[in-house]
Amino acid sequence: MAVVPMKRMTIIAARSDRKAILEYLQRQGEVEIDRESPDDPYYHKIDVSGSRQIFEKNVGLIDQALSVLDTYAPLKTGLLDSMSGRTILSLEDYEKGVAKRDKVMDITHQILSLQKEDAECKASVPKYEISKESLASWMNFDLPLDFKGTKRTKAFIGTLPGEWTMENIYLELGQLSENSDRFDVNLINAETQQTCVMIVCGADDEAELSDALHRMNFAKAPISHAVPSEEAKELDAKIARANAQSANIAAKIMELSAHREDLKFIRDYFKMRADKYEVIGEINQSDRVFILSGYIAAESADSLAEKLNSKYDIVLEFEDPSEDEEVPVKLKNRGYGWPIEGLVENYSMPGKGEIDPSFVTSLFYYICFGLMLSDAAYGLIIALATGVCLYKFKNMEMGLRRNLKMFFFCGIWTVVAGFVFGSFFGDSVSSIAQTFFGVEKAKAGTLLPALWFNPLDNPIKMLTFSFGFGLIHLFTGLGVLIYTDVKNGKVADAIYDGVFWMMFVGGCVGFLLTVPMITNMLGVTALGGNVATVSKWVAIIGVLGVVAFGGRDSASIGGRIGSGLYSAYGITSYLSDVLSYSRLLALGLATSVISSVFNTMAGMVGGALPVFFGVILYAIIFIIGHVLNLAINALGAYVHANRLQYVEFFGKFYHGGGRLFTPFAAKTKFFRIKEDK
């Protein structure tokens, strides 16, 4: 449970070692290199953006090629394969693999141009098909469609809208032209939508016929230089050719997919180089040396110094960061608290002087989740599923491992809460016993008794428990505030903001617990004796302290009293904070009531049928219902467990605002290079 202490590191080394040192640092991933080095009269920065862009372009090209390979030669991947993490590669293999980069870029370009060619082929097919379709009505026409006529005659080939008979056409032409008897109409094909015709006239009458046809909305036939039936055959051949070519290309791409691993490797190689060049462009260099500065975790400083000194001729300095520096924050936790780092990172990294809240949060987070899901069977499912994945995939990426581990612990606590409050797939034990074994309702309910009590029978007790849990959670938050202030030497602040509030809230709670009206409502026994007097005075001292010191930042006396009174008004926020923990009861009840809805439905259906079908139908309803219930309630438990930490708990002591430590590392996608020891 700690924020890792950082050191500032400065390396001065020969430029001839620049590549080796930077690559070493990148593989180690332990140093955050300053991205803005100060201007210096003796050093300058080198513009390497050109090479960097080339590397990044290559990464993009290979990514495209890989996605082409995924469409043409998809890999069979299971749902769980994404958990197996990046392949580990030794440094030797890495260096051997780099030699392939030109060949791989060649293959990449081949794949991309093949894919482009294939796209053109595939696009041409529908084009041919449309042409073929437009020829369909012309099939029994034995002249080329662009036939214009002979020396003396003119031919008009085209379509008229709607269905026409020969007589109708002559009639219409007769009305539009005086010389219609000199026109020769050939009806080629008549359909409801259009009629294909060839109309021939003498060369002299061309203008007149053209005019008449124009008024009849005549449209020219599709452009084609061949006889339609032959043209259609040719189009068929073209389509077949295009399809064959496309298949051919697909086969070629399939063949190239054998190089998929190489592509992935070189992609990572270029990505690392691009990242490295980004750093090179930002550090100060002279003709002979370069200077590099950054942050490193204090604990890894010595070992890194040792390795670098043994390999290269360098000057290496470590110093403690100065007070006003914004030092990046790295968290370090083990075991139980580690998964919560993700939750903290999601909120905000600890700011200056703040402690790492991961461990103390982990003490409550899993239990909150467990109480809200509160079903032993659901907990078992979650814990087993995540546990098996964690066990099977040792090489899993860190972020995923952290999340799964978090849900593993959540699952464990869900099992605990489930047994404590007597829920295993809701009331499934009682429901199955009643449906299939004829056990009476009263007796069936006692088959799986709750270790403590069943919230369905006594919701008020559970509500009181939730409030009590909330109070402990909030007081722990105040405790952390006091601890942090004391650690930072601000003892007075610890008393004003922590101790007085603890007295104020604690006194109020103690006093309320002596009032019979309240205790009756909560179903607990009223405290007697001196508790009332003691807690009353504790609360009074607390509230006086809050009023006196809550506004200590104000300059004037009036302002100080005013804002002191206002800060005492903050007691209402404690009230709403405590009430907010009623969600532990509400969401817990939601899980068990919905479970029992499905169990009841399954029991009604299953009990009404003969045993064989009854069992099958019961199982179907049971499985569907519980999968649904688990999904929706696990989501609810996750969201609200987060909320209780972020809003209620962190609100008491944690502000964040720190910057996450992001070391210069190999941000690869497929391979992880392992340094030889």
Partner: protein, 158 residues
């Protein structure tokens, strides 16, 4: 069949009905926003799906209240003979969940839609984006609590 049973059933039906309507509207709205994000970046699917589901819980709470009301009224097995005043008590007990469920689901969906836009621009802020809709849900949970306690309380009266 008594008038009391009618009132009680009306309450139970309203809890499932109004809260369900609210959630349907809410999840629908959030789903539109989520689909928009996925067209740009399919990798954000799981994140925006969680955001979409957040306004869906009110419908479940409504179902829950309806179910425990139905069981206690005696409609699901048992004799459903309530006096008018008992029926009205059940009716009143269901109202918080019905009305708060309807309105909070719709309001929560507004926060969820905004949260989805946030996740689209800054996926690393998912944890915070999730909290804003969850704040609205608090009131649905409080209503759920009052309804549950009232129904158990009313059931203890007779």
């Amino acid at each position: 069949m008594t008038m009391g049973t009618v009132f009680a059933l009306l309450g139970a039906a309203l809890a499932a009905l109004l809260a369900g309507v609210g959630s349907a509207i809410g999840v629908g709205r959030a789903g539109q926003a989520a689909a928009g994000v996925v067209t740009e970046d399919p990798n954000k699917f799981s994140q925006v799906l969680i955001m979409q589901l957040l306004p869906g819980t009110q419908g479940i709470y409504g179902l829950l209240i309806a179910f425990i009301a139905l069981t206690n009224i005696g409609i699901m097995g048992g004799d459903a003979n309530l006096s008018t005043s008992e029926g009205l008590l059940y009716f009143a007990a269901c109202l918080p969940m019905a009305i708060v469920g309807l309105i909070s689901a719709m309001q929560q969906s507004n926060a969820a839609v905004a949260g989805i836009a946030l996740v689209n621009k800054r996926p690393d802020q998912f944890g915070k984006a999730m909290i804003f809709p969850a704040m609205v849900e608090t009131y649905a949970i409080l209503a759920l609590l009052v309804s549950i306690l009232s129904i158990f309380g009313v059931a203890a009266l007779h």
